[in-house]
Amino acid sequence: MAVQSSAPAAEAATAPADGHRQGKPQLSEGARAERRLAFLLCAPAVFIMVAVTAYPIGYAIWLSLQRYDLRFPADQAFAGLSNYVVVLTSGYWWSAFLVTLLITVISVAIEFVLGLALALVMHRTIVGRGLTRTVVLIPYGIVTVVAAFSWQFAWTPDTGYLAALLPDGSAPLTGQASAIALIILAEVWKTTPFMALLLLAGLALVPDDLLKAAQVDGAGPWQRLTQIILPMMKPAILVALLFRTLDAFRIFDNIYILTGGSNGTGSVSMLGYNNLFRAFNLGIGSAISVLIFIAVAIIAFIFIKLFGAAAPGSDPDGRR
């Protein structure tokens, strides 16, 4: 929702741009003028950011405190936190929350393992490097909804080539466990390349000399991976996991197409959509959106504070 990627891996590689000053000496006239110019140059961007992100977020928070249903415009009134109470005491919210959490944890874990393997392959490829990287990226380049439709056809009995491989009469998208497994599969297939790309940037940080030295000292491939490569890649790994976790937590399109949220497969984003756009209940729908926003913020906080992932745009060692 709020956190969007901005050159995610780049900050790990760049050194701090300008040295930090000691104290605050009186600025010269020229420096002050330049600073003013800098603010002026930033102003349009700040204005646009406020208009497109801060305003909608503020509006959503305001809506979430109202009783506001488009079907009953006369009943609009301030409702305090009652919408949040309704959502947090509802079984629908908690089952959607658990499904979302399950999909997030499993898909990100699988993506990480596969993504790392792909990154190692791409890093080591000598011939056809460009071709390998292009091929690996294809799933990520396909529009999610289009890919989801083709998965849906593939898993539908009678029309699907994948459903035809299953025993007769099985409709895997109609059971909770099997449908969630297929949603995870679609997610993994789709976003592993993204993970691989972020990890590949991290792999570039590992000096070849170090690996060669370790090899001379008798470290096997597994030891080199766990003792040298992974620790050196840690900043990149944490950024990759952070981005994918935030993305996966907001999963919507794959579920919307594959199951429509039936049979207990709905995510929190689906729940928000249904309450906003099918029930037209802006108050409760906005409360759900704000709760998703808070959950996303907590995930980001955990990654940055507890695991020490570098926040995008800050120094790799978190000085700023």
Binding site: A33, R71, T174, N274, N275, I284
Partner: protein, 452 residues
């Protein structure tokens, strides 16, 4: 504030840019307004995507008939009902003056009326709409003693069955379940096809059973009546028995209208409750229809051999099965009505146009080309309609006993919670579900709580 370094140069450098940007913005704003079109007022008529060509033809005919007083332009909405509703709601909430006429699903009347999105018909216009219109169809356009939308077409379900497997079609659900289980024991096709997936269809199935048993979901004032008497218990237990019977279709819990049609055409179903499109489909060879070309053997099992006997030869219809043997079933009515938006600049012309859009010729065109039953009762006597609808008599009788879905602005929420509670039907516990239904429907009516 001190002057910046080299203020002159910087200003000079920036000015052309600012001027260019302002110019661009102004041009964009102007282009948005455009010049007002000359000629008669334009009425935009938003219709569903299915049969859009038919609605466009109707709009063109009425433009001609208006003799230059107004022009009706048909605009196509998405295919899915939810998407149509969402797009209309977005435009109306935003006060879009380019929406004049809308095709509204019969379930939206109360919602759009209560939200102030559609205007009630003036007395005389309403009287004119009522003239010759089927009672139940007219009722779908009414809310709080006013007419809000004029019926264009309607729809109802019948029982479609196989004459070879069931020489006397079942009159009640009990009878149908018994026949189906007997067929299953003989190893013959036995499925009863209904709409039981988690969507509007299962809510319609429940509402039909409930009203056929003499019950009601919600009154027009918003009182929850679903737990009055034992009608809801009867309805829920029929659904549960159909789904748990050894003779039932294993994929019933995901079946929609089309799945029932396909099972029937493939020869695996003995019975289905469905809309009249299944009759057109089984009698139309592929690719336009499904075709009923599946061969069946002496006993009625589907076979790959050419036996000379096909499913379509033994396909027939009967009234919708009853819940109570003494009372005809009251089937939930469907269809589209035409509403006039409150944002329209020309409401008077729009009401006038409604009368034309739903006149005899346009309804007949929609029935023969679009395959939807008309709402004018005299058309059921029309040979052209009867030729397309061999089951016209059963359809008309079914419409005469039809039930209307609850007239409450919260209908969509009610339908969503019903579908969630009733699906999968095999897991319904008739003893415990009625209080749950009452509680969830109550919350939905008051727009409290979440929809799943």
């Amino acid at each position: 504030m001190r002057a910046p370094v080299h203020p002159e140069e910087r200003r000079r450098g920036r000015r052309p840019l600012v001027v260019a940007a302002c110019g661009l913005l102004a041009a964009a704003a102007l282009a948005g307004c455009g010049s007002a079109p000359t000629g008669p007022p334009v009425l935009n008529y938003y219709t569903a995507a299915d049969n859009a060509a038919g609605y466009a033809a109707g709009a063109a005919a009425c433009t001609e008939a208006a003799g230059g007083r107004y022009t009706i332009v048909q605009q196509t909405l998405p295919k899915a009902a939810d998407d149509q509703r969402l797009q209309l709601a977005r435009r109306l909430v935003a006060g879009d003056t380019a929406v004049d006429l809308m095709l509204l699903d019969v379930t939206w009347t109360a919602e759009f009326a209560e939200a102030g999105w559609i205007a009630p018909f003036p007395e005389d216009e309403a009287r004119q709409v009522q003239q010759g219109t089927l009672e139940a169809a007219y009722e779908t356009g009414r809310y709080q003693d006013q007419l809000w939308a004029a019926p264009l077409n309607t729809n109802t379900q019948l029982l479609w069955y196989r004459t070879d497997l069931s020489p006397t079609p079942p009159a009640t659900w009990d009878d149908m379940i018994r026949q189906s289980e007997a067929l299953h024991q003989q190893g013959l096709p036995s499925y009863i096809e209904t709409q039981a997936a988690q969507y509007e269809g299962i809510s319609v199935w429940f509402n039909t059973l409930l009203t056929s048993a003499g019950g009601q979901l919600v009154s027009e004032n918003g009182d929850v009546l679903v737990d009055d008497g034992d009608a809801a218990y009867q309805a829920a237990s029929i659904m549960q028995r159909v789904a748990t019977s050894p003779a039932s279709d294993p994929s019933l819990s995901v079946a929609q209208e089309n799945d029932g049609r396909l099972a029937m055409e493939a020869g695996t179903a003995a019975f289905q409750v469905n809309y009249p499109f299944v009759n057109a489909s089984i009698n139309t060879p592929p690719p336009d229809g499904g075709g009923g070309g599946t061969f069946i053997d002496e006993q009625g099992r589907p076979t790959a051999e050419n036996t000379g006997r096909q499913v379509r030869d033994v396909f027939a219809w009967a009234p919708y099965p009853r819940v109570d043997a003494d009372r005809p079933a009251s089937v939930t009515i469907g269809g589209f009505n035409i509403g006039v938006s409150t944002t329209s600049r020309h409401p008077d012309l729009a009401f006038e146009a409604v009368q034309c859009l739903r006149n005899r010729e346009n309804q007949l065109l929609n029935a023969t080309e679009g395959g939807v039953p008309p709402t004018l009762s005299e058309l059921y006597e029309d040979p052209a309609f009867q030729a397309d609808y061999p089951a016209w008599e059963a359809i008309r009788d079914s419409l005469e006993n039809a039930s209307v879905r609850p007239k409450t602005p919260a209908y969509q929420s009610i339908s969503i919670v019903l579908a969630d509670l009733l699906n999968p039907p095999a897991q319904i516990n008739p003893d415990t579900i009625v209080p749950q239904l009452a509680e969830q429907v109550e919350r939905a009516v008051n727009s409290e709580g979440l929809v799943p």
